[in-house]
Amino acid sequence: MIALKTFKKGGVHPEENKISANSPIQKLAFPKQVVVPLGQNLGTPSKPLVKRGDEVKTGQLIAKGESFISANLHSPFTGKVLKIDDAIDSSGYRRPAIFIDVEEDEKWEEGIDTSETIIRDIKADKQTIIDKIKECGIVGLGGATFPTHVKLMIPDGRKAEYLIINGVECEPYLTSDHRLMLEKGEQLLIGIKILMKALAVERAIIGIENNKTDAINHLTELAKQYAGIDIQPLKVKYPQGGEKQLIKATVNREVPSGKLPIEVGCVVCNVGTAVAVYEAVQKNKPLIERVVTVTGKAVKKPSNFLVRIGTPVQMLIDAAEGLPENTGKIINGGPMMGKAITSLEVPVVKGSSGILLMKNEESKRGVPQTCIRCSKCTLACPMGLEPFLLAKLAKLSLHERAEKEKIMDCIECGSCQFTCPSNLPLLDFLRLGKNKVGQLIRSRK
């Protein structure tokens, strides 16, 4: 057997636990009220265009991305704006959001094609595609929520050679991308074609980890109809879904420290993003829903749901037959990089890929012991950093030294802390260090 491609440096292999992999995507019932946070994208939060008492239709633009790195926001439901107020989001902070009282009777904004018919012919030209993506508020659905239209604007002097599509889903438990590849394979490939056109690239590679052989086979079969799209099976290894690791694994190029993938001629998009791009460009449908996995060892019915933005997490858990009694932690995202949330009222946002319920006994960290200098963290770090050292530098506030040791290259994948035999909270300190070094760098400007 030929060894599967993967990235070379570091990485870990947590238990995969893809228990919801065989559960088809189901639509969720409508909530009574939704909370749509304004800051759902990386960059500047969107600016609201509606006010209290306004009637909104499904898919109507309700907040606009005004600065360069920002995204539009659309109403996920038909209803009435109750208020614009602070609401708790997955970060645990209270941040501005639009509250909408949902009406049962759904009215879509005009011009949106809600049919299931697949439109294969790509009529839009390069600029129209980018404009449409911007208009529809598409952001990276892998979790980073970087506005997609910004990604597609290649800076002068650079040229994209490869479009790399991230179907890796290296986070344990999560299966939303997996289900999407199986159920919306064709839409995905058309979306990729659209992105290829926007970037003027000849080749696209879909990287998929080898624990999703059904998706690999399905897409390989479909891709025969689409020139220039290759499916690349990859060895199962975390954090392969990291942008830089995926580029290394698929085209063996290394994004320079502190630079973007375009530096090596690559643009990376998640499979969910590509499907959203299809819907935006071919169906004129803004990004108002996404697939979310609800899972966990104690969950009665681990499932994948098609969820409208703003739906409270509580509803998703109810649909998966309720919160298990011994739940100790609720994570928005996967177990390696997800955020523990404080409340069940937290809404689903564009970046939510899963809700993971951990049992009480799983949810507690081990007691930290002394560092035995085993160097496992260094070997596990996919960026070639020394987490033990960076954590110590952060602790001692030696920020200049930490900057020199490339702390800003840390992708916060958590491999170091996962592997640490002494249960040290390495990533906590690395985040602290990154924060301080970031302040330091900004203060120099």
Binding site: P335, M336, T370, I372, S375, E386, F418, C420, L427
Partner: protein, 335 residues
């Protein structure tokens, strides 16, 4: 308020823990322990028990009454230190020397620096070198092995080690062929299986290599350190053997005699006192190999690996500073 745990990612943890690592090392030492018991019988058991119990005892006393902090003797690190200390002494060592060695190992080399993870030098080697310098006679009178539970060895004949024979022979002006012809020089097969005079644990290269492979498989040690030490010793000794086979013995002899295997596989690889990065591990291993051979060939002691490891231990902070892992995305992009 929320009844859920809130903590930063990652929310899952691998299966590694300190205890598991330490007891994996203990498990890896089992073949060598069995070999030592086979050759030295009840004396081996006695030395091993005294060493382990004293190490545990001193760690307990220091943690409980001196530091007045948590007692962590169950983490297995003191057991490992005790076993390795016992491996480095002759089977007929008087018990009280062993106890003093354990005190130095735990009290001075480990706890005075802050305990597990803080010691710059390999504790068992510090204890061993202390005993070697303080009690040179007792530490270098090696009982001749008597396989299969012979009577107590306290009155058994003692004999020199293979390396000792080599050094004495060369000092007396003999050439290599004459030294190898000496009837007390162990044959090649005996050197491999451990049927020769020497410290408890350095007897059988095969048993040590089995344990080493087990540790590499369980990812407790990296192969780079033992490999680079063994390779350096082999190449360096080989070059001199080729230059003058009359005075310099063949390199294979160096590999399977003395404490080379024990040192390369178990002592130099001690996580706490060895470098953190792969490139550094090579530098460290090559350094140990070179110093070992220099002491063996031209030094006052027949065996040099303990000193070599301790010397290189002292360079570890510098090696860690100078030899970094290759950063991702820094190719041709150095500032």
């Amino acid at each position: 308020m929320s009844q859920f745990t809130i903590s930063g990612s990652p929310h899952v943890h691998g299966e590694e823990n300190v205890k598991k690592i330490m007891y994996t090392v203990v498990l890896a030492l089992v073949p060598a322990i069995l070999v030592s018991i086979y050759f030295f019988g009840i004396d081996a058991v006695r030395v091993l028990l005294i060493a382990v119990i004293s190490c545990l005892f001193f760690e307990w006393v220091i943690q409980k009454y001196l530091i007045k902090g948590p007692v962590t003797i169950t983490d297995g690190s003191a057991v490992v230190a005790g076993l390795l200390l016992a491996f480095n002494v002759p089977a007929n060592l008087p018990w009280w020397i062993m106890v003093i060695g354990a005190l130095v190992t735990i009290g001075i080399a480990k706890m005075s620096f802050g305990g597990l993870g803080k010691n710059p030098f390999n504790p068992a080697l510090v204890g061993r070198v202390f005993m070697l310098i303080s009690f040179p006679v007792q530490m270098t009178s090696w009982p001749v092995p008597k396989p299969l539970f012979a009577n107590s060895l306290t009155d058994a004949i003692t004999g020199p080690t293979a390396l000792g024979l080599l050094k004495e022979g060369l000092d007396a002006g003999k050439n290599i062929d004459q030294i190898l012809a000496d009837p007390s020089m162990p044959a090649y097969l005996d050197r491999l299986t451990g049927n020769m005079s020497g410290s408890l644990g350095e007897m059988s290269a095969i048993a040590l290599i089995i344990g080493g492979l087990f540790m590499i498989w369980r990812k407790v040690i990296d192969w780079q350190v033992p490999f680079s030490i063994i390779l350096t010793v082999f190449v360096f000794a080989g070059i001199f053997h080729l230059i003058d086979p009359e005075i310099y013995i063949d390199p294979v002899f160096h590999l399977f005699t003395g404490g080379l295997m024990l040192g390369a596989i178990y002592m130099a690889t001690d996580m706490v006192s060895s470098p953190m990065n792969i490139s550094g591990k090579w530098v460290y291993g090559i350094g140990i190999g070179l110093i070992t051979i220099i002491i063996r060939m031209w030094g006052a002691y027949p065996e040099g690996i303990s000193f070599a490891i301790l010397i290189m231990n002292a360079f570890v902070p510098l090696i860690n500073y100078g030899f970094k892992p290759r950063r991702f995305g820094l190719v041709g992009n150095k500032k």
